[in-house]
């Protein structure tokens, strides 16, 4: 079995894995990082979105072996010293979640969206989150939360850089 060495949420793990093991199952079943869920089997829903070297990927469509030598950040690794990431705070403030199942992937995708475009318009936010399905919110408050987080992060960029 191939051996992988991966940094996940700041901790380095080394494991023997089957080549066919999906990254999402490696994170959930082997590392206990169950904060990131699975919502479909055709790569449509984005519930499993994590950051791989800073960029969002659907971890149901990446093999664990492909993550060898890379850095992963999940929703569980956001924020520092117990303080929430501005995106997490904004989701709470704007009521951008209900059942909470799409939320981890949605927050991660939103963070990646702001990395690409720090001051997105509503249309750009909607387009940027097209890969993440939500069944509860009708998206509007999610769009609002991303705007709120963008404003806050532009006001205090050094805090975001640290997280």
């Amino acid at each position: 079995m191939p051996r992988v060495k991966v940094e996940v949420d700041g901790v380095t793990y080394e494991d023997d894995v089957e080549p066919r093991l999906l990254l999402i199952h490696y994170l959930r079943d082997r590392l206990g990082k169950v904060g990131t869920p699975v919502g479909c089997d055709t790569t449509n829903c984005g519930a499993c979105t994590v950051l791989l070297d800073g960029m969002s990927v659907k971890s149901c469509s990446v093999l664990a072996v492909q993550a060898d030598g890379h850095q992963i950040v999940t929703v569980e690794g956001l924020g520092i010293d117990g303080e929430l990431h501005p995106m997490q705070r904004a989701f709470h403030q704007e009521h951008a979640l209900q059942c909470g199942f799409c939320t981890p992937g949605m927050i991660i995708a939103s963070i990646d969206l702001l990395r690409e475009n720090a001051d997105p318009s509503e249309e750009e936010i909607r387009e940027g989150l097209e890969g993440n399905l939500c069944r509860c919110t009708g998206y509007q408050n999610i769009v609002r939360a991303v705007r709120t987080a963008a404003d806050e992060m532009r006001r205090a960029p050094e805090r975001e850089a640290a997280s």
């Binding site: 066919r20 709470h92 009521h95 209900q98 909470g100 989150l129 939500c134 919110t137």
Partner: protein, 792 residues
């Protein structure tokens, strides 16, 4: 109000207590649960829609080194568990023994060390089938030559399930015979699926030492599940504990019991270890509860000047291969007979016939409030069809016929008593918000100039009926639809509220704490809401049909008032005053005329647990229980207006604006109500424009993944424009009505009405959902197609 004030006085847009765990990935969903020694189950499913089961050979799978057991229909038959009761008093195969009756049906269950091995072993099972002709088209299900699907029932010779009717047939016929105008329209509400983002699953743990079965499962109705398991498995209820962990959306999909749950429980008994089963998306879409699938023929009678006189409806209901529809026992077509909607009329009648087809069971799901989605769609389409016939503006036609505020409580001709409403005010507000006259002008100009996309304006005015229900009339499998509540105040004045309903994202942990805060004047943050664990919570029927606020919310208000009354007696002893002399203000009892002399709830709580001598008959401590049996349903309503643009070249529909004015009485938490409405409106976009589960002539399911079964993304949804009016429910302790399903019920008709309105220049009167570009393009060409079938 500032947020601080809101917290102390209960109602208001308090931020959610639930969020803290979900935004950190610290929710606890079914697939997050891990127990020592836990095994994993996987289901082998039928590739055929209809076939005789000749043989099932599991030997190769059993030889797999990581496989612990393989369960088949034969195994279950030996335990008398091959069939289970459904919520409609039919039976459903757990694992097939005689035939398979829909594609994806459960045939065998593998238990292995891990998920991957279980899936591997499925491919080692060898099943021999003998194909039978499937019944795919519900309209052919009762033909003489249709194959009999349910030959498990001795003597059955056809696919007929039930006939049900409501209203006065003779009077309705008289009204139609004498009517100046009668318009008829066929319409299909296609088979769709609630598709919660989290699929269904279970972790079953049979402890052979204690004899106690614990199941963690995706259930909207934990107590009902426990009772059904007791009836099916023969275990006593005190030896069954059902726990609903965090649920990643339910939308009616997680009301019933699925074969996978029963298999996991049997698997745990067989293997002596916990067994987890979590389905994947295609399994969820193919085999768990679908929604709708009503083939409706509507007729509307009116005077030439636009007074509606009657409605007559025939429905053919496709229930799939087993009648698993979830609704109160006496209502096999749910509450469809609320189809007269928001309008005053002389008479109405409906007939519903249910039939079996070779498809998965279901019907009632996806925020339907027991078939009110279908009822609201029917009447709101019929109003538009009539408006077209009369060449009247659809808003004007509605305003002319809407029930008037002074008519409430209103006895409908089909047997409902609507509790309250002020419909014209609500519709006028929506029209003002939309700028209705300006929109019509813009539309006229566009039609005149012939430039740009086609523009349509669609209205839907709906009346919901939620909060099932009075136990005299409403039960599920004999269980009356009342809900318990228990409230306990700790010595320092913090509280724990135990409820029988089960949130799947609707925010109960916050709003139910707000109800206690509102009644007792203690901060909502000091109230812990416990739900979902049948060992810890009072009996009740769970969350669906938007019944939580009407029933369990009422129970919470009542139980809090009981505590407040007890607190008054304790305060009387503390203050050495007669209880009649005490007055209440939020958070404290005080002596009338002497506001300085009083006791706060916190002081009273401590005294109730302390050395204070209490009056005769008062036991001490500060707690109460109640069971709330609602006197009636609540009838929220709303006015929705959709503005849609249609590209005549491609048939693509864009929802440009959507205005939604909802009236659900008192809003306990307006922020949460608005979130519920947003989500329901997105459902409407999905159903009206994108979603259908179609079948081909062999019974193949053509919507079995998110590649084909399309959900709206952020791109298809506009920014919703919400408004509200407030008309209290007179019988509810808080004046609150349910609201969660209103937007799903009300919005599809507004969108379809808008699209049909846009297509008016082409002489289009109706088009069936989903209004995909292909369907709209064909409708423009004058050759619509059956959206539910892919049969040449």
């Amino acid at each position: 109000m500032t947020e601080t004030q809101e917290r102390h006085h209960g109602f208001g847009s308090m931020r959610r207590k639930e969020d803290a765990r979900f935004i950190r990935g610290k929710g606890n969903f079914i697939d997050d649960i891990r127990l020592p020694g836990m095994l994993y189950g996987a289901v082998l499913r039928s590739p055929h829609a209809h076939a005789r089961l000749v043989s099932v050979d599991t030997s190769a799978a059993e030889a797999h080194p990581q496989v612990k057991a393989v369960i088949t229909g034969a195994t279950l038959a030996g335990l008398n568990l091959a069939w289970m009761p459904t919520l409609s008093n039919d039976v459903q195969a757990v694992l097939a023994t005689d035939k398979v009756r829909y594609q994806g049906q459960e045939v065998a269950f593998v238990i292995a060390d891990n998920h991957y091995a279980a899936r591997d072993a499925l491919e080692l099972i060898d099943v021999e089938y003998e194909a039978l002709p499937p019944v795919v088209d519900a309209r052919r299900a009762l033909d003489d030559d249709a194959a009999v699907i349910r030959d498990d029932v001795e003597g059955r010779t056809d696919n007929h399930i039930f006939d049900w009717e409501a209203g006065d047939r003779d009077r309705t016929n008289q009204v139609f015979d004498g009517a100046e105008v009668v318009v008829a329209q066929d319409m299909l509400y296609p088979r769709v699926h609630p598709a919660p983002l989290e699929t269904c699953g279970i972790v079953a743990d049979m402890d052979k030492v204690t004899g106690k079965l614990t199941v963690w499962t995706t259930t909207q109705a934990p107590h009902a599940h426990r009772t059904v398991y007791a009836l099916v498995a023969g275990l006593p209820e005190h030896k069954i504990r059902v726990v609903a962990p965090d649920i990643g959306g339910g939308f009616g999909n997680k009301v019933g019991i699925y074969p996978g749950y029963v298999c996991a429980i049997v698997g745990s008994i067989v293997a002596g270890k916990p067994v987890k089963w979590v389905e994947d998306r295609s399994e969820n879409l193919m085999t768990t509860s679908f929604a709708r699938d009503y083939h409706m023929h509507g007729e509307i009678a009116a005077t030439r000047d636009g007074r509606i006189r009657g409605l007559r409806v025939k429905v053919l209901a496709d229930h799939g291969a087993f009648n698993g529809t979830a609704q109160p026992t006496k209502f096999p077509a749910g509450f469809f007979h609320v189809f007269t909607g928001s309008y005053d009329m002389e008479a109405a009648h409906c007939e519903v016939t249910g039939v079996y087809t070779n498809k998965a069971p279901g019907g009632v799901a996806y925020a339907c409030s027991f078939r009110i989605t279908e009822a609201a769609y029917l009447v709101e389409r019929m109003i538009d069809v009539l408006a077209l016939e009369l060449d009247m503006d659809p808003a004007e036609l509605r305003l002319k016929n809407l029930l008037k505020p002074e008519q409430f409580p209103y006895q409908s001709t089909t047997g409902w008593e609507y509790d309250s409403g002020d419909y014209p005010r609500t519709l006028r507000l929506a029209m003002d918000m939309a700028g209705y006259e300006d929109l019509r002008r813009e539309q006229a100009e566009r039609r005149e100039s012939g430039t740009g996309p086609l523009m349509g304006i669609g209205i839907s005015f709906f009346t919901e009926a939620v909060g099932a229900g009075p136990r005299k009339h409403m039960d599920i499998l004999g269980l009356g639809m009342a809900d318990g509540a228990e409230l306990r105040i700790h010595p320092t004045g913090k509280a724990v509220l135990r409820i029988s309903v089960q949130t799947q994202g609707q925010g109960h942990e916050t709003t139910f704490a707000q109800i206690v805060a509102h009644e007792l004047g203690i901060p909502a943050d000091d109230v812990e809401v416990v739900h979902g664990d049948t060992d810890q919570t009072p009996f009740g029927l769970g969350t669906y049909g938007s019944r939580s606020t009407p029933v369990s919310g009422a129970a919470t208000a009542v139980v809090a008032r009981k505590v407040r009354d007890r607190a008054r007696i304790v305060a009387g002893a503390m203050l050495e005053a007669a209880v009649e002399d005490l007055e209440w203000e939020p958070g404290r009892w005080f002596v009338r005329g002497d506001p300085g002399s009083g006791a706060t709830m916190q002081e009273i709580a401590m005294a109730a647990h302390g050395a204070l001598e209490l009056p005769e008959g008062v036991e001490g401590h500060l707690d109460a229980t109640t069971v709330y049996n609602p006197p009636n349903l609540t009838f929220p309503f709303g006015a929705y207006i959709c503005v849609a643009d249609v590209d005549p070249g491609t048939g693509k529909v864009t929802v440009r604006r959507f205005i939604a004015v909802d009236d659900c009485g008192v809003r306990i938490n307006p922020m949460i109500v608005e979130g519920q409405v947003h989500g329901g409106l997105a459902d409407g976009v999905g159903m009206a424009l994108m979603q259908v589960m179609a079948f081909d002539e062999d019974g193949n399911h053509l919507g079995a993944s998110f590649m084909d079964y399309l959900l709206p993304t952020s791109m298809e949804c506009p920014s919703w424009e919400l408004g509200q009016t407030v008309t209290l429910s007179p019988h509810h302790p808080l004046g609150a009505k349910g609201v969660g399903e209103s937007a799903t019920v009300g919005s599809p008709a507004a969108i379809v009405n808008a699209v049909v309105d846009a297509l008016k220049p082409y002489g289009v009167r109706h088009a069936d959902m989903p209004l995909t570009p292909a369907n709209v393009w064909r409708v423009i060409q004058g050759r619509p197609f059956r959206t539910d079938l892919a049969i040449p």
